[in-house]
């Protein structure tokens, strides 16, 4: 198939009429325009984050900073906050975010892994019911539940608490992680394990040595999903973590809006946005192919 395609391609290359070539050029131009439209806000965020105060507060925007315009001052300002303008500090917020993200990631992966083995490997009564339940539960909007959840967690004395927030995040990512991991577990043929058992493995060690390594990519991509969810989450953090020392990074970023009514420090805010976005963008690039597949697995006909 690939050889015929190459053949076709080479035949076409010699006989492409100019009209067609022009059309291809046209598509390339549209492609470049799409890239610019899509990436410009990000370029602008990074650009502004490195510009000094007077180059930001100007009605002649600086699109390509010259050598003298470049400063790390905005980053220093938001990370160290020497003027003590921000209610929340960056490093504690970073530490809170890392803690809640790590907690969510580890617990949801372990718990989801167990459940996905159950529904991917075993036949039992209630299996179908469980699957339907997690798919439905996934659709309950957190925005509707937030105030009730706050009161409940308040009753447990778990507000302003990393553990409490983490528990909420775990419950929001669990349905998706169970469902995705189930796909991976089911995709590993049980025969592999059986042949390992014939070769003398116990059931447990066959699973651990044969199936588990094959699940690694699944664990990575579900883990990244949990990471991004917990790292970006804003709605629950808004009600659960109100005191400055308990704020997570999104809350910290939002505090820029509060801190500067009327005199918004856009340079600082853009530096903050860059800092919050970097880890997510990196992780996104790692698993991008899998992100699309997850929600539409098997939806392709033919």
């Amino acid at each position: 198939m690939s050889t015929t395609m190459q053949l076709n391609a080479s035949v076409k290359k010699n006989s492409i009429p100019t009209a067609k070539r022009m059309r291809n050029l046209g598509f390339s131009v549209i492609g470049v325009i799409v890239f610019i439209c899509s990436a410009f806000p990000i370029y602008w965020m990074i650009n502004s984050s490195f510009l000094p105060y007077d180059k930001i507060r100007t009605q002649n925007p600086v699109f390509f900073p010259g050598p003298g315009d470049f400063t790390g001052g905005n980053y220093e300002k938001v990370v160290v906050d020497p003027g003590n303008i921000l209610p929340a500090k960056f490093l504690p917020a970073l530490s809170n975010s890392l803690q809640v993200t790590f907690f969510t990631l580890v617990v949801s992966l372990v718990v989801a892994f167990l459940a996905s083995v159950a529904i991917g490997r075993y036949a039992f009564k209630g299996r179908k019911g469980f699957i339907v339940a997690i798919l439905i539960v996934q659709m309950i909007p957190g925005e509707a539940l937030m105030l009730t959840l706050y009161r409940m967690m308040d009753g447990f004395h778990l507000t302003e608490n990393i553990l409490g927030l983490g528990l909420i995040y775990i419950s929001t990512v669990l349905p998706f992680t169970v469902w995705t991991l189930r796909g991976f577990v089911a995709a590993v043929p049980a025969e592999l394990e059986e042949s390992a058992m014939i070769d003398g493995c116990t059931r447990a060690s066959a699973f651990w040595r044969v199936t588990f390594p094959l699940l690694a990519p699944g664990l990575v991509s579900t883990g990244v999903f949990a990471f991004i969810q917990a790292w970006n989450e804003f709605v629950m953090a808004l009600v659960m973590m109100n005191s400055p020392e308990h704020m997570t990074l999104p809350m910290w970023l939002r505090s820029f809006l509060n801190a500067s009514k009327g005199m918004t420090d856009w340079g600082g805010m853009m530096a903050g946005s860059v800092l919050v976005s970097i880890p997510v963008v990196i992780f996104f690039l790692i698993v991008q192919g899998r992100m699309t597949g997850g929600l539409t697995a098997g939806a392709v006909k033919g």
């Binding site: 291809n24 598509f27 390339s28 549209i30 470049v32 799409v34 890239f35 439209c37 899509s38 990436a39 806000p41 990000i42 602008w44 965020m45 502004s48 002649n60 925007p61 718990v111 459940a115 159950a118 991917g120 075993y122 469980f130 699957i131 539960v137 309950i140 909007p141 539940l145 105030l147 009730t148 528990l167 775990i170 669990l174 349905p175 169970v178 995705t180 189930r182 089911a186 995709a187 049980a190 059986e194 970006n232 808004l238 009600v239 970023l253 809006l257 805010m269 946005s273 997510v280 996104f284 899998r290 699309t292 997850g294 929600l295 539409t296 697995a297 098997g298 939806a299 392709v300 006909k301």
Partner: protein, 323 residues
């Protein structure tokens, strides 16, 4: 997990015995074993405590009158039956919000889907280098945390120093500096729409593109040779292949665009009148924190109900494909 997930649940489930229908009663009775239930236990406990319990409490709360005193536990909340529901359903601000949320959702979904389709078709036509460029651009937009993205767009549309005002001044010749984009609800929602569409299109484009590349080239070439026009080729040949992806994307977009919260909240903080720009979640939040917890709970129950009805198709489709 991508497009290659085999329908292997049945065979996988039968790992300890010859293939047999999982729903077979006899087989289950014979082989009832505690292990799968133990494996499910942590998930079930977490979901029951963290989701089941609050949903039930929310439904109960929606039948009580919670003023501020009752909310902080000073006085007993008063049982009012369906009172909160009749209040919500006769509240004009609720209906306005509902109208606003749905109108915004419809426009945003239409735009996202249309642009997503166009992008996926464009990616089919591009050579490798430019396609990579486009993918990187789309991926960056997609990956931005919603709140950071909102702040970046708020900066672009800033009243005094925003680039958009600079461009508008350049283009029209009149002075746009000082124009507040968030002040009027219409342009507030335009900016919100730009943010949502900008971040929503990549997912649609990548998913559809992944689907389109699965179409056998022979089919496309044959239709081309038969002289089908590009428009016909899309609707008659390509679209049927990706129809189920497309429908799932529409349903997911509807759900996501009805749920927008962080973006609205942040834009309201930058500027804009909250009364005229609140969407479903924000309205519930504002009503609840504003002192009427019961009313907010009733609206929240309505929201959950609406979401579950909309997601019915998604759940059914996922079940069908998963098994």
């Amino acid at each position: 997990m991508s497009t290659t997930t085999p329908p292997a649940v049945q065979t996988a489930g039968a790992s300890r015995m010859p293939p047999v229908d999982v729903t077979d009663r006899k087989y289950n009775k014979k082989r009832r074993q505690p292990l799968p239930y133990l494996l499910l236990l942590p998930t079930v406990v977490i979901l029951l405590v963290m989701l089941g319990y609050p949903v039930v409490t929310m439904i109960i709360n929606s039948f009580y009158k919670y003023d501020r005193g009752a909310y902080i536990g000073f006085t007993e909340p008063e049982f009012v039956g369906f009172g909160n529901y009749t209040n919500v359903l006769t509240d004009s601000s609720f209906w306005l919000m509902l109208f606003r949320s749905f109108l915004f959702m419809i426009v945003a979904v239409l735009l996202t889907m249309a642009l997503g389709v166009l992008m996926s078709l464009l990616m089919m036509r591009l050579n490798k280098g430019i396609r990579l460029l486009v993918s990187v651009g789309l991926l960056l937009a997609w990956a931005m945390p919603a709140l950071a993205a909102t702040q970046v767009w708020a900066w672009l549309f800033d009243t005094t120093y925003g680039v958009v005002n600079w461009v508008m001044t350049r283009l029209t010749g009149s002075n746009w500096f000082g124009h507040s984009w968030l002040a009027s609800p219409l342009s507030f929602f335009t900016i919100l729409g730009i943010i949502i569409v900008w971040q929503g299109v990549p997912f649609i484009a990548f998913s559809l593109y992944a689907g389109l590349t699965q179409i056998p080239t022979e089919v496309l070439e044959a239709s081309q040779m038969d002289g089908a026009s590009p428009v016909k080729r899309f609707f008659l040949i390509m679209f049927p292949y990706v129809r189920s992806i497309f429908t799932v994307m529409v349903v997911l977009s509807i759900i996501w665009d009805l749920r927008v919260f962080a973006q609205v909240q942040a834009l309201q903080m930058v500027g804009g009148t909250a009364d005229q720009t609140s969407t479903f979640g924000v309205w519930i939040y504002r009503t609840g924190t504003g002192g009427d917890f019961g009313l907010s709970a009733a609206a929240a129950v309505i929201m959950v109900f609406v979401m579950l009805v909309i997601s019915f198709y998604y759940v059914r489709q996922t079940l069908k494909e998963g098994n």
